[in-house]
């Protein structure tokens, strides 16, 4: 026994029977305390928070009980905001790479903001005056895409996207091209009324607090929760049943479930008939240019109509073709018919039935590893719960065809899915299949099923378009169209006359036609190779592209410093804006220090990804709680200032003078068009704040948000809250509010004409543009108007005997992306990661629990530690993503666990597939959407040799600390706003 404190012992009155330490005494005498509301940004959930200040420092942060998103709860990340705010990894000054030093060496010098703006203004001004596409702006999970997108468009570059292409674009595109809405910000499971909930491949940091709140209520109320996932962690842990599945095979499961539901008649026929294109007749004349398209009749088109109601059913009552939704008509869903001109036709549902004919549960068992018996039971549980537990709510509403309904009904089966489905190269068709499964069960925007959130549903596809012509890019002019959009046919592609891509990431080209979120994961590789062309300046905002946000990380880092023969860098100028030191800031030529979320204004805008609830639109704001640290400047302010200096039309008056004082002024006064009444914020519009959604700018809008917990929630009338794809009242309201241009019903695309149009073009049949010959086969194969299963592309080119395992990553609930290793509290929860291996798989490979091993793909290998798991499908290995860091990054010490025991799987995932016969390489992505196929990689594992260092591999030269950054203390004793604070060195 050793008494460290013998000196102190003597001073203590041990005889006292009452406590000496009074737990109720205020820990800081006469403290000045204050509570400020704002919105969290420790992840993308965007909960309402209260920041409690003591003497101007953060004492604690808790959830705002009045906020509709989180109702007072807060997560591990939100509770650790203090450690983000005061992190030693914070950048505090604009920095320039020292002249004469190599990029990546981490030698920076301070520059003033004035100098920074002048460097940027001069360089970008020249680019804009010559060839605006030489400037590329790509952003991470920034929550301000409406502003960054506006800036890029005003600049005139097509080369803009956020991180969606490497996140979950398949989920957005697959669902929006099918049901007009998707999971997370735009819709989700109505767990309040659901009875059966199926969660498939979900990232646990996504929509996390609302999901946790809803899931626990659901379970407590006796709901049944099934998790389909190769791994059982987090949410899946509390599932009533866990169904392990092989990665990348979810499509096969969905199709087999559809097979079983159709075979047994467990589909909601009334729903399919009225609200989907199931009954519509498809032209099956193979010789016809319109083969595979819906037959249209001669109904005069209404002007400005988006999706004219001019398709046909084959009516069971009259045994004749009729215009859909004709009063008294009821279509055949099955069968084949001949039109009077002899054209053979079939209802779309018949084609779906034929499609899934061979997708039996026995077939799916071989692919998914789930027994046919289980697949059947799952289908039965879904079908019977949907059918026998129907909900009826006494809410009258009127549908788009004028039919009045006394009630809203719903089938209480709901789903949630995310990157586990999306991050595969077959994800788009898998998610189409999931959307169709949800549709067969009759669960779209109905109680207990999937519910939309404003601004969704939107027409299929939504109306935003990119330009379709390279001439949209002109010097000194804004881009003539959006940088991102929703192609509805091949003529919407953004390609040159020869079919080659206009964008640096090749989005909206024949290689990835529906890449609605761009392909950020290929920007560096493409720019380095000069394919399709070289660029001058790459501006990255909050994206760790030299580490966890890039595939093939080691090679991408080399590309960032690779030089031309003349000694200039292949990517000549790289600007990084971030609040923190990271692997990526090291490669910058210019660093812009961003503020933290507690130091800035921000909007969660209806123009972007708002935080709407099922019952109506919700948006919110951030209001600074603390002054900026050092010389940090919010990126929003940087964009407004830069836009003004470059005289981008949106930011200056006709005379070229400054239009907006700053970001808050911009937010209040900017409108989508002069006098449109639509701006970034939907609440308290109108001169006195009396209007919602639409109205003149209100000079006191920020104050009104501040007074109302920083959030605006408009509850729709009950009759507008359901069936919104076909709800006349809702759609007309949405049109009046300017949310959508069209108010026609949004029929569910069980059968996708959009996809068929691309296939026809590839077959040389259509009157639209056609793909270059070398891409025709690819487009024809993957643009199938009905969902189908194919093995992920990388697996098709992998030696599966050599690489028998699938490797996955997922993100833990207590971390968001790479952000939190600099957080002293959160990193104690996850300071390094293991490769989890099923104990049986590990033992077969001679690997003991905790052994150092190599995990190797056809692209490379990584040394890491193995950990046994029983909650894991045996053909899968996985790890937590972005815990592993490069040595010294994020201002951690070079010997920190993150770099020594932690590892990054990305080194063995390629951003490109193996070369084609012509030497060209496609992105390792979904051939339809360009979604990064993170989870397709195949690996093998083996024990590290005796004597190998017990350290992860690869290792990199430790990063340096930059000027303006704090030292990392060896002790931390945080005590907010008081004398007890003691940050020992």
């Amino acid at each position: 026994m050793c008494f460290d404190n013998l000196d102190n012992l003597a001073k203590k009155n041990l005889m006292s029977s009452t406590p000496l330490h009074d737990p109720f005494a205020p820990p800081v005498a006469d403290a000045k305390t204050e509570v400020r509301n704002t919105t969290c940004y420790m992840c993308a959930c965007r909960c309402g928070i209260r920041v409690h200040l003591r003497n101007g420092e953060v004492r604690y942060i808790d959830g705002n009980p009045n906020h509709p998103l989180n109702n007072g709860v807060i997560c591990a990340k939100g509770s650790s905001g203090i450690m983000k705010q005061y992190s030693p990894a914070r950048l505090t000054k604009p920095l320039r790479r020292k002249a004469g030093t190599e990029r990546g060496a981490g030698e920076f010098e301070e520059v003033s903001w004035e100098e920074t703006f002048s460097i940027l203004g001069e360089r970008l001004g020249k680019i804009r005056a010559t060839d605006p596409k030489k400037f590329a702006l790509f952003t991470g999970r920034d929550q301000m895409q409406a502003l960054t997108g506006l800036f890029a468009r005003q600049f005139g570059t097509p080369n803009y996207a956020a991180h969606g292409g490497f996140c979950s674009v398949n989920m957005a595109a697959g669902m929006i091209y099918t049901i007009g809405g998707s999971f997370w910000e735009f819709g989700g499971p109505d767990l309040e009324r659901s009875k059966l909930f199926i969660m498939i491949g979900t990232a646990e940091d996504h929509h996390s607090n609302p999901m946790k709140v809803a899931l626990s209520k659901f379970k407590r109320e006796g709901g049944r929760f099934i998790s389909i996932n190769p791994v059982r962690t987090g949410y899946s842990a509390i599932a009533d049943e866990w169904v392990p599945i092989r990665p990348g095979t979810d499509g096969a499961l969905m199709l087999a479930l559809i097979h079983e539901l159709i075979a047994l008649g467990l589909y909601d026929r009334d729903f399919l008939v009225r609200y989907t294109n199931s009954g519509q007749l498809v032209n099956l004349d193979a010789a016809h240019d319109e083969f595979g398209m819906f037959v249209r009749t001669e109904v005069p088109e209404e002007e400005g109509c988006y999706d004219p109601q001019n398709k046909l059913w084959w009516d069971r009552n009259t045994n004749k073709p009729v215009v859909t939704h004709k009063e008294g008509a009821d279509p055949f869903l099955f069968g084949e018919f001949k039109l009077s001109d002899g054209t053979p036709v079939k209802p779309a549902f018949q084609l779906l039935k034929e499609r899934v004919e061979d997708y039996t549960p026995e077939w799916a068992e071989q692919i998914t590893g789930i027994s046919a018996e289980t697949i059947r039971r799952l289908a039965h549980e879904m079908g019977i719960t949907a059918r026998d537990q129907q909900i009826e709510l006494p809410i009258a509403w009127t549908d788009s065809w004028g039919k009045e309904h006394d009630s809203v009904t719903g089938n209480p089966v709901s789903f949630h899915a995310m990157r586990g489905l999306a991050a595969h190269s077959n994800g788009f068709q898998t998610i189409r299949a999931l959307s169709i499964l949800m549709t067969l069960l009759g669960t779209i925007d109905r109680p207990g099923g999937f519910r939309h959130k404003t601004p969704f549903p939107r027409p299929i596809p939504p109306c935003a378009r990119t330009p379709n012509d390279p001439r949209a890019v002109q010097p000194n002019s804004p881009l003539d169209g959006m940088a991102l959009g929703w192609p509805s046919d091949p003529d919407d592609l953004f390609v040159n006359a020869d079919g080659t891509p206009v964008r640096i990431d090749k989005a909206f080209s024949w290689e990835y036609p529906l890449s609605v979120h761009g392909l950020m994961h290929n920007v560096i590789t493409n720019a380095w190779r000069g394919d399709p062309y070289k660029i001058d300046t790459l501006l990255l905002f909050m994206a760790n592209m030299a580490w966890n946000s890039s595939m093939n990380t080691s090679e991408v880092r080399k590309m960032l410093v690779d030089k031309e023969e003349d000694g200039g860098y292949k990517i000549p100028f790289i600007v990084v804006c971030d609040a923190f030191h990271s692997e990526t800031t090291a490669f910058a030529d210019l660093i812009l220090p961003d503020t933290t979320y507690l130091e800035r204004h921000d909007v969660m805008s209806m123009l972007d990804r708002p935080i709407s609830e099922f019952d109506g639109p919700v948006d919110s704001v951030r209001i600074p709680v603390l002054p900026p640290t050092g010389e940090c400047k919010p990126f929003q302010e940087v964009l407004i200032e830069l836009g003004t200096r470059l005289k981008l039309p949106a930011f200056v008056t006709k005379e070229g003078q400054r239009k907006y004082r700053n970001y808050p002024d911009f937010i209040v006064n900017w409108e989508t068009a002069p006098g449109s009444g639509i701006g970034f914020l939907s609440g308290w519009r109108g001169k006195g704040g009396e209007k919602t959604m639409r109205g003149e700018p209100n000079p006191n809008q920020w104050e009104m948000y501040a007074k109302n917990d920083c959030v605006h929630h408009y509850k729709l009338p009950r009759s507008y809250q359901f069936m919104r794809n076909w709800n006349k009242g809702y759609l007309e309201w949405s049109q009046r509010m300017g949310i959508t241009r069209y108010a026609e019903p949004i029929l569910i695309h069980l059968y996708s004409e959009v996809l068929q149009k691309f296939r026809l073009a590839a077959q040389g049949k259509s009157i639209t543009r056609q793909p270059p010959a070398h891409l025709a086969k690819r487009v024809e194969t993957y643009f199938d108007p009905l969902p189908f299963y194919y093995e992920p592309l990388e697996a098709q080119t992998s030696d599966k005997l050599k690489y028998p395992l699938s490797a996955l990553t997922q993100r833990p609930m207590a971390m968001y992306h790479s952000w939190d290793s600099q957080n002293a509290w959160l990193r104690q929860i996850h300071s390094h990661n293991y490769l989890y291996v099923n104990s049986r798989t590990a033992k077969d490979a001679g690997i003991a629990d905790g052994d150092w091993i190599w995990v190797e793909s056809q692209w490379g290998k990584v040394r890491c530690m193995a950990s046994y798991s029983e909650s894991l499908e045996p053909g899968t290995v996985w790890t937590w993503n972005a815990i592993g860091k490069a040595a010294g990054a994020w201002n951690l010490t070079p010997d920190a666990n993150e770099s020594q025991q932690g590892f990054l799987l990305n080194h063995i995932i390629s951003e490109e597939l193996p070369a084609q016969a012509d030497g060209k390489r496609f992105s390792n992505s979904d051939p339809i959407t360009g979604q990064a196929a993170w989870y397709d990689v195949r690996v093998r594992i083996y024990k590290a040799e005796e004597g190998e260092p017990e350290q992860t591999s690869p290792q990199f030269e430790p990063l340096k600390k930059y000027p303006g950054m704090k030292e990392h203390p060896s002790w931390l004793a945080y005590f907010g706003g008081g004398k007890k604070k003691d940050n020992a060195k």
Partner: protein
């Protein structure tokens, strides 16, 4: 006599660690604070946390469960940490049963750590005193807070409301009801410590489907004329008997 306690519902805990850091952020700047962290940005960071979540896997694949298990001081009714304390720093409050450490009396001898069968004590390496969960004694009676905020920080934060708080001696309290109705249990009762905190077990919802429920009279395949009919070539008694 009041005995304040937590009841932790393992049926809904998803292991998100909200309780871990919300506790840390409240208490580091409160009467128990600061809660120190050693090597906060270096190798093997370790700090004082009153609440920790451990995750276990139970069974063997595929018959396995993953369990998230939040753990903090259980505020035993017979706390073994109290009598072993040589200075009387470990004590149990008469008013509400909360077990506290008097930091001004603690000499950091760690006897209490050895006595506690639950590993709930947290030695603060900087202050050289023993610390542990206080049930946020400096929040729950604070009249300057709104009533809904007068709860332990972890309880307020928990997104799945897996943490219930109340008087375990009051049979009508929410937590007593939960223990009674949902099979609440105490950890390692064989130690005779009578932990005030309890845990609620996993509860599973199953759906039993009888085959005769698969088909109903209103089966849409009837409408669409596609209800499966036996093939005329299928086996039948006609094949074997002429009666």
């Amino acid at each position: 006599m009041t005995q304040l306690a937590l009841v932790i519902d393992l049926n809904v805990c998803v292991g998100c660690h909200a309780c871990v850091t919300s506790c840390k952020e409240w208490n580091t700047s409160g009467s128990a604070g600061p809660l120190c962290d050693e090597n906060p940005y270096g190798a093997d960071p370790t700090g004082t946390f009153f609440n920790r979540v451990q995750t276990f896997e139970i069974g063997q694949y595929p018959n396995s469960e993953t369990l998230h298990f939040p753990k903090s001081c259980l505020h035993c009714e017979d706390p073994p940490c109290v009598p072993v304390c040589p200075t009387g720093a470990s004590y149990k409050r008469k008013e509400d049963g909360i077990v506290l450490v008097d930091y001004d009396k603690c000499i950091g001898c760690k006897y209490c750590t050895w006595a506690c069968p639950y590993g709930a004590r947290e030695f603060d390496e900087k202050a050289k005193v023993m610390k542990k969960c206080t049930l946020c004694v400096d929040r729950i009676y604070d009249q300057s807070l709104d009533e809904i905020d007068r709860k332990p920080s972890c309880v307020k934060a928990c997104p799945t409301s897996a943490r219930l708080f109340g008087d375990v001696h009051d049979p009508e309290s929410e937590i007593s009801k939960a223990i009674r109705e949902d099979g609440g249990y105490a950890l390692m009762p064989e130690w005779g410590t009578h932990p005030a905190n309890h845990y609620l077990p996993r509860r599973k919802t199953k759906l039993k489907i009888h085959n005769d429920e698969l088909e109903r009279a209103d089966n849409p395949l009837k409408v669409d004329g596609l209800l499966p009919k036996p093939n005329k070539n299928d086996p039948s008694m006609d094949d074997v008997s002429a009666w």
